[in-house]
Symmetry: C2
Subunit: 400 residues, 2 copies
């Protein structure tokens, strides 16, 4: 999606400035101002070592009335103890002063290296500069400012008719490594100008994240800093209250779609990734079981290196399926397809399968691996990428 097609969301203004969080010249500090009256919901990392800004953001969002977000790239402010918490609070105070709001109305976010203290003064100096530059069309610049090992900014938007009005949704995300279910060093900010009551928005963000960021895997690690924020400004859009109405379902679908597009963009930009693969599991006894098998396949280093090599080594696929710990799984009922090519039939090599067919599918930059377990009606899918030399290079040299 080109930057120019990103809509503005009335009620949201953004500004990105260079604050030299690391030794670079780029924008690395993002300020988002939210007009009064918006609903704001968020989900946060499950990592027990959650970063200082996550601790503070959770506390502040619980108080309600959120009016601003501050995001820095280059330093995660994680594993930084009490001083980390104090630094995050100081950032909120600086934003509060600049925007004339309360510190607890500010949510802080950080992404980057773990275990180093924030260059606090640089952030404090950057905040008023950002506050002077807030503008409605700052989304594209914002998507760039929050990048770390990302090779490209990630944006998505939709427009949908709700109660006879066009409602806009715009979102940005960052993340390329440490991506896994339960999110990871992933930050995502999505806003709509519809008015959605807080309890409804709280449910919506959970559902949207479950359908998107919790279904992607780059390397099986989960970060200390991830967060996904959903904002409904209500500035121009209609008020949504009835969860059974077609209007709500349309809005919900559009919001989920924005989340999915951002999540897929993260996998496609996976560190060193050269392939985008959907792992679909059908015929499972439950959704939980289907997801378990899908992640076992999608996260296996041996499967991921085979993807990288464009080698349809289906033996590794059955190995991964067998490792999912599904009690009573009958290998003799398992069928596996590479796109529409059946490679495994009743647990063994399909009679019709030829290596040439498999090679053709695996040579593609995007394809689907479908595993049918033959034991139920549940079906789930995840998105994954390959494990390449570049992954090792990027992560071996990250701090240098």
């Amino acid at each position: 999606m080109s930057e120019h097609s990103l809509p503005q969301i009335p009620g949201i203004r953004l500004a990105s400035v260079p604050a030299r969080i690391k030794n670079w010249e780029r924008d690395d500090l993002l300020l988002v101002a939210i007009d009064e009256g918006a609903s704001v919901s968020a989900t946060f990392t499950q990592n027990a070592f959650c970063a200082a800004p996550v601790t503070v953001a959770k506390e502040h969002i619980g108080a309600g009335g959120v009016r601003a977000l501050l995001v820095n790239a280059g330093n995660a402010n994680a594993a930084t103890g009490e001083r980390g918490i104090e630094d995050a609070r100081a950032c909120c105070e600086a934003v509060a002063t600049a925007l004339n709001i309360q510190p607890k109305q500010v949510l802080p976010f950080s992404t980057g290296v773990i275990g180093e203290h924030l260059p606090l003064q640089r952030l404090l100096d950057g905040v008023p500069r950002a506050a002077e530059q807030l503008r409605g069309d700052g989304w594209a610049a914002a998507a760039k400012a929050i990048m770390t090992t990302d090779t490209r900014p990630k944006t998505a938007s939709r427009s949908v008719a709700v109660a006879g009005q066009q409602v806009r949704i715009c979102g940005i995300a960052k993340g390329a490594g440490m991506i896994q279910p339960n999110m990871a060093t992933m930050l995502a900010y999505v806003a709509t100008d519809a008015a959605v009551p807080q309890p409804l928005l709280d449910t919506l963000v959970q559902e949207a994240v479950a359908a998107s960021f919790n279904r992607i895997s780059v390397d099986g690690d989960t970060s200390t800093n991830d967060a996904c924020v959903l904002i409904a400004t209500g500035a121009t859009g209609p008020t949504i209250a009835d969860t059974q109405s077609e209007d709500f379902l349309n809005l919900k679908q559009a919001i989920v779609d924005v989340h999915i597009e951002l999540a897929q963009a993260i996998v496609k930009d996976g560190e060193g990734a050269s392939k985008f693969v959907t792992v679909q599991v059908t015929g499972a006894a439950s959704s939980e079981e289907a997801l378990k098998v899908a992640f076992e396949v999608g996260e296996s280093p041996l499967v991921k290196t085979a993807l990288y090599a464009s080698d349809p080594n289906w033996g590794r696929l059955v190995m991964a399926v067998g490792n999912a710990g599904i009690e009573g799984l009958d290998p003799g009922k398992v069928n596996i397809f590479l796109d529409d090519v059946q490679v495994v039939e009743a647990g063994g090599r399909a009679a019709t399968y030829t290596e040439a067919q498999g090679d053709k599918v695996f040579a593609k930059p995007e394809f689907t691996i479908t595993v049918d377990l033959g034991r139920g009606d549940s079906c789930e899918h995840i998105w994954t990428c390959d494990f390449s030399h570049d992954y090792v290079t990027i992560n071996a040299e990250y701090r240098t």
Copy 2:
């Protein structure tokens, strides 16, 4: 350990021959003959797609009276359906004919590529050739014959005084990739000339595997074919019956030590591995919790790429600890040490820590990462290795 120091185990004879299971010249078929009267115990893969030989071996060992093992490298006979089972049975029949025993007294094992049928005739031709060459000092050759992606054979032995007699223990193993708790494409065969009653030996093999092969991780994948066999021939050694006796404890320790030495050799020979790292977790509320954290750290691709880069990126260590899903973990009580250098203190960077100290430890080929959770008295450890460019190369090109 040099090959010449491997002891013979009275009651065991071995022979390795080239059977051209793959397009190579090396020995790839191992026959082990066991004198009558021995006890034989084994543990097998937990993978639901267990290979045909595993199915047959489990069935045969249940019948008791095992007299022979047949192991081929180069082809796993896994995901091969009914024909795979028939092939494994045909191999047992060939061994039975050659040694004048019953087919159900033979345990078959295969390791190599998944999903291709065995070149059966070559195995059947190889068996009588091997039977003619059985000898007591065949252990070193056997360790070579069972190798796949291993870069070196793995052997270990001990001698221990039991009831005034010297008892010998000798073992071989193979495995380099797909190594994970619950074993993986790992085969291990350990024998002693002590006489151990079957029920006692069954417990012993479980304990030995729990302390060794179930504590190693190369890449988090588990194979369809792994097995560990423990044989007590009783040919010359004393009979062990009292599990409280010092004699039994001595024998047990020596057997466990042989397993640990073999397991560590597998990690050291991990595909592309350049580092051997012990991850020790102390201060855990339970053994289970300690192992969970140890594996989360030892299997994190981000930790493993940092090990490869010799980069003491302790932020990734706390991230991995935080991901272990330990309920109520207090990051503020977590301390982490690199050998005896404290890098994390109360959840943050230790005041005394310098990068130079961390660099020095990470530059070593072998070191220990100790994570103290500060919430109990349980302590466990595992062994792991780094994730290198060579890992990707080896596994991307395995079938070519």
